[in-house]
Point group: C2
Chain length 431, copies 2
């Protein structure tokens, strides 16, 4: 047996406490699987005296300042669980790598914004920078794409990467309730934050997508290149119409290499019923990777929570203990490609558009004239209900067209005097 691997944990929130508990409860199992002991030698947190349901063994040094832990002599691996793309979290990771420590982190924002630079720093120090917990919670999808599917070019990689949004959309479908009501409930249950914008506006999904895209395409992490739309504008009516047309609405992150660069998109999608992703409900996450040899692989599991996240963090630690260390993004960072972002305006696809219009003669003619003028062809158009002189929903499904044309169509539809509310546009995906 080799020497114990000495761990320093920065951040003892829900996940940090989960990591401590797992390390304690499965000590023997982990020693057997790693061929050496995993030993916590240092921790750092704002509140030293909070009850976390776990006893810190004697011999654990408490650091007031996580940056001191990051360079402490008795630590081999720094586990950063503070969170946030800047500030202490970033300083801890940089300090640790510069001090020759391995780093394990669950911090997707940090990786999305500074992943490439941190990878270069890790390689310079010849240390690991691992982040299985940053994407897909407990699902080992980083490893699957970087190693298990390493023989493939990826036709596309996409997934449900945010449990909060998937919970809200599933609940909206099951209850028929509107977004605001379901969000409030989700906040009450702890499935959504008091300030939910990180989740419901798609930013968290975009962080994760940019990491997956880098892994799949061998490119630098390009968070600014992600097109982002959240789910606040999705109404109960849209959920209902989706069902009628044979779809289910999911917030997806999708990445693809096009002739013009890497396309990264986060927005609500019409996912065909029967596709694996459409069946994934509640807080579960799922990633689909379509490889040119492996075909379509689907990975599903809990996307968040102390247990799954701790499982992923410790999988990284086990890799380090077993001396299984790879460049953070599959290829050494000097060989990662700087691919341009494929412009969203050139995206091709079919669209669902829901309008609220005054129930007056001539409305359909005005709408179809705009579509014709922009060269967007209509697959179906339906008006639901009658309310002469008042607002009724009209739903359009287009054939495949270009995003820029649809933007034109939507601008003109919005300007129509019979259109009383902003149109809702949802992209239809072939999955």
């Amino acid at each position: 047996m080799s020497d114990p691997l000495r761990l320093g944990i920065a951040g003892l929130g829900t996940v940090g406490a989960g990591v401590l508990i797992l390390l304690q409860e499965q000590q023997d199992l982990l020693r057997q699987r790693c061929g050496r002991a995993l030993q916590v030698t240092a921790v750092s947190s704002r509140d030293r005296y909070k009850n976390r349901g776990v006893d810190l063994a004697s011999g654990v040094t408490w650091h007031e300042d996580a940056r001191a832990l990051a360079k402490a002599a008795h630590v081999d691996v720094v586990i950063e669980l503070i969170g946030g793309a800047e500030g202490i979290a970033r300083q801890v990771v940089e300090t640790a790598l510069d001090a020759g420590k391995h780093v394990v982190t669950a911090n997707k924002a940090l990786l999305a914004l500074h992943g490439s630079e941190l990878a270069a720093r890790a390689e310079k120090a010849d240390r690991a920078l691992c982040y299985e917990a940053a994407v897909g919670g407990g699902i080992p999808v980083v490893k699957a794409i970087r190693e298990g599917l390493a023989a493939n070019r990826f036709e596309r990689v996409y997934g449900i990467l945010n449990g909060t949004c998937n919970y809200i959309l599933t609940k909206m479908e099951n209850t028929g309730d509107d977004f605001d009501k379901v969000l409030l409930e989700a906040q009450g249950l702890g499935y959504a934050e008091a300030d939910p914008s990180f989740d419901v506006d798609g930013i968290d999904t975009a962080h994760k997508l940019s990491i997956l895209a880098s892994l799949a395409y061998g490119t630098h992490v390009d968070f600014p290149g992600v097109y982002i739309e959240g789910i606040r504008h999705i109404g109960a009516l849209d959920i209902q119409f989706a069902r009628e047309f044979g779809y289910r609405i999911k917030l997806l992150g999708l990445a693809r290499r096009t002739a013009r660069g890497i396309e990264q998109r986060v927005h609500p999608c019409m996912a065909p019923l029967g596709s694996p992703i459409s069946e994934v409900g509640g807080v579960t996450n799922a990633v689909v990777a379509v490889g040119n040899y492996a075909g379509q692989s689907v990975f599903e599991g809990p996307g968040a929570g102390a247990g799954p996240t701790a499982s992923a963090v410790i999988a990284d630690i086990v890799d380090i203990a077993r001396n299984q260390i790879l460049p953070p993004f599959a290829a050494p960072s000097s060989r990662l490609e700087r691919a341009p972002a494929s412009p969203m305006d050139l995206h091709q696809g079919a669209y669902y558009v829901r309008l609220t219009v005054l129930d007056q003669p001539g409305v359909m003619a005005a709408i179809t004239a705009i579509m014709a003028e922009q060269g967007v062809s209509i697959d179906s158009i339906i008006q639901r209900g009658r309310a002469p002189g008042a607002g009724v929903p009209v739903v359009l499904i287009t054939h495949e067209t270009e995003e820029a044309r649809m933007n034109q169509v939507l601008a003109q539809l919005t300007a129509l005097k019979q259109v009383t509310e902003p149109p809702v546009r949802i992209r239809i995906e072939k999955l």
Copy 2:
């Protein structure tokens, strides 16, 4: 860049040719991801002059005898794609390891029967023995369980591990046809072998399950310990009744640690509609691993075929090229546990039983008396249709009970003079 990794491929059937094509087509990608070239230096096959759709580069040595390839000086990794648990395949793997070569194989039968002994041999030689392609085709599930979920104890691991059986069961459901008819069609389409027994009698599933169980539980591979039942006895009526009761019939391999040892079972199951595994149709494979921290992870993908299998074989080669080498079964073989097989007689569960009985007064009384006598309580019992004096189906659903009691019940039911055909028993799983 390091030296090229020199590959010797033994066996150029569908998979071998797929591996050659992948290596040729994605040469640059693989060189980038591995940091070194992958170079085929030797091949071996029975028929040298068959057209395989791929040109062998000059500099490739042709070996008439695969055992000569296995110890050839210019080979670093031997890729065994011959198949079969004994004979040449086994000799090639043993010879290669003893000659200090790494081995990659897709041979589940070989691993199921000789896995532990080969693992010890690989460790003695300090070489890799990799087999991602042996389980779940292109799905990187060996890596997921051995590494990605390494922090977990597994409450259970189960899956659809044979595409042929899943294709047949899916087709039976979609068409209402009987097993024999669908099997013939599957043979015509190349989805089933001329001699289908390896697949439809559950042996292939059992090979794969014994490998998964070893990985999950840190035990020696125990193929003889697997309880095996195939799908030949499943009738169109069972598929139909399953649907009515809220289930879909799937051939599953299931492993679990019980107080009495490792339970490994392969048999048709009633899988609840809505469970992820029940939604997996056609030739797709799926593995579900329930970890005590990660929760339920689901892995789905194509279970066979040249492309997916080549993807898995090359993932193993990439690991070796990147120097990512682990003991074959998660722990060094000297530390694998010899756990007893948990006796099937003690298995607890609910059961579906379909009887064909003469439509006569007193039949139900006779059936229920037997159940009562054995202490098996009935959840529901239905007789479908009326045909006085002729055979009609009676379906029983039991509450949870012990396998041994059900065996008694079935023996007594079979002996009833009103029962005209062997009963069909299908276990109901909570998934």
